[in-house]
């Protein structure tokens, strides 16, 4: 299997799994228990918290473990909105992941207004629009660090400056960047940040919300006194330990890995566009995740591309995994101004830790044939 769907999920790094294993059986206790077994579990959780904090340059008490990126996004948007009752506007972007978009839309039920900042054809948000949209009624700005479908990296520092000029909390969904790009919440001006373990070779079912000291938010899940009373529920100790290990690995290997993957990604792009006419590169040509290659293949439809690839043992995706099966083309591509017809032909290759050059060469060999085959049967191809 050639797996080029790392933006959907990643395998768990064997070092991560090894770190987790003792916490299923030998050290299985509840970190809230006051016997020594409990203390041992507590120490493991707090050690993982340090590693997380280290990776994004946060304080340890600014880290709140969650069950994933979606939960972190929900806590941020709902939590900040519900923790006050003066401001009633939520600003987000048109290209957010559904975990933010749908969450914002849900808040209209509680009287919040949602403004979606548009993006340019490369997927960069319109800072002027944002500047005009913010006001004293705005409670939170939630704009993603990098987009999962096209990889475009947003101008976080500029966004945070606009937010802070108006006393607005700035949250960023960094699910696709944590572990791939260096992050420093202080210097980037990030008040809240969401991350997800399974996107950088950590375990599924793990994630975190980083919230700067002083940011007020209601919990999403209420209950016991876990995570400074902000996220109730018995801690997923093995998962948290694994997430910590994934952060530790990313910390030391991220820079090297980014370089290696970027080369492979560019080789893939150059290899296929040499052989296939009428390809469109999605996202920003430079300000883009090094691992992401989103393209639109004109005259054909994305799912049929995927199925053919799959028959060749190649795993890719058309847009975000969550919305496959929907009939609408990606809201991200549409927001970037790509016509429906073209957007239906989108496909995303996303590379990762275990991607090898031979795999890329195989895709370069196979993919053009698939496109050719589908174009032959397409009524849209010009002959």
């Amino acid at each position: 299997m050639i797996y080029l769907d790392y933006n959907a999920t990643t395998p768990t790094d064997p070092r991560v799994l090894d770190a987790m294993l003792p916490y299923f059986q030998a050290r299985f206790a509840n970190p809230s228990s006051i016997h020594r077994a409990g203390h041992e579990a507590r120490r493991a959780v707090e050690k993982a918290r340090e590693k997380l904090a280290h990776l994004v340059v946060a304080r340890v008490d600014e880290v709140y473990f969650t069950s994933g990126g979606t939960e972190a996004d929900n806590i941020a948007v709902k939590g900040v909105a519900f923790a006050q009752n003066k401001r009633k506007k939520i600003i987000t972007s048109a290209i957010e992941h559904h975990a933010v978009l749908t969450t914002c839309e849900y808040m209209t039920k509680f009287g919040f207004e949602v403004v979606k900042v548009p993006v340019d054809p490369h997927g960069i948000i319109d800072l002027n629009f944002l500047e005009d949209a913010v006001d004293d009624n705005t409670v939170i700005i939630s704009i993603m660090h990098a987009n999962n479908e096209v990889g475009t990296v947003e101008p976080i520092t500029e966004i945070s400056k606009i937010a802070h000029r108006h006393g607005i909390v700035f949250h960023t969904d960094a699910v696709q960047t944590v572990g791939k790009l260096p992050i420093d919440i202080e210097s980037m001006g990030i008040d809240m940040l969401s991350l997800s373990g399974h996107k950088f070779c950590g375990p599924k079912g793990t994630g975190a919300l980083i919230a700067r000291t002083g940011i007020r938010f209601d919990p999403l899940s209420h209950g016991g006194h876990h995570e400074h009373n902000k996220r109730a529920g018995t801690e997923n100790v093995p998962g948290i330990v694994g997430l910590g290990k994934a952060c530790e690995i990313a910390m030391t290997e991220m820079a090297e890995e980014e370089k290696r993957i970027r080369l492979l990604r560019d080789k893939l792009w150059n290899g296929i566009r040499e052989k296939i006419p009428d390809l469109i590169l999605n996202g920003h040509p430079e300000k883009r995740l090094a691992n992401t290659l989103g393209i639109c293949v004109r005259y054909v439809e994305g799912e049929s591309l995927l199925l053919h690839l799959d028959m060749h043992g190649i795993c890719a995706s058309s847009g975000s995994a969550c919305t496959s099966g929907s009939l609408e083309p990606s809201h991200v591509l549409l927001a970037m101004g790509i016509p429906h017809e073209t957007a239906h032909g989108s496909i995303r290759f996303s590379l990762g830790r275990y991607t090898e050059e031979a795999e890329i060469l195989e895709v370069i060999r196979v993919f053009p044939k698939i496109v050719e085959k589908l174009r032959v049967i397409s009524p849209l191809s010009k002959k």
Partner: protein, 150 residues
């Protein structure tokens, strides 16, 4: 959502792909904006307006669409080929879906598209041979707006 083996088989090896120059009838359904489009080309013998006599003797299609759309077009072309026009108008989307060992619910609209596009081609034929009245009795594609709501 996962396709049956039958769907995959037709998707990977679609039958009757192509166009017919100067076809007796041509019909198109779907819309690339919605992600699928099918054009069917048919030749008829004998070229009568008796729906019980006239048969599809050649059928070709082109499809832009998902795996289901391609498989449906292929299967529909196989089912319609050799049949009288009357028999073809009796084909339902369920017949096509059943012949494919089922389709995922979210893809059922594709099976409609196949039957409808062939019916459009039959309408086109009837119109060409001067029986627009008969053509009107055959369903063909829904109006655009309806299709968009599917």
């Amino acid at each position: 959502m996962q396709y049956s083996q039958k769907v995959m088989e037709h998707f990977l090896n679609p039958r009757n792909v192509g166009e017919i120059e100067d076809a007796d009838g041509v019909g198109t359904c779907g819309n690339p904006i919605c992600g699928d489009l099918m054009t069917f080309y048919i030749n008829i013998e004998p070229k009568t307006d008796d729906l019980h006599m006239a048969r599809i003797v050649d059928i070709r299609f082109k499809t832009f669409g998902c795996g289901a759309a391609i498989a449906v077009a292929s299967m529909a072309s196989e089912m319609a080929g050799g049949k009288t026009l009357f028999e073809v108008t009796e084909l339902t989307r369920q017949d096509v879906a059943d012949a494919l060992d089922g389709l995922p619910p979210v893809k059922m609209h594709c099976s409609n598209l196949g039957v409808q596009a062939i019916q459009e081609a039959i309408k086109d034929y009837l119109q060409k041979i001067g029986r627009p009245d008969l053509a009107k009795t055959i369903q063909g594609c829904p109006k655009k707006s309806e299709h968009n709501n599917q």
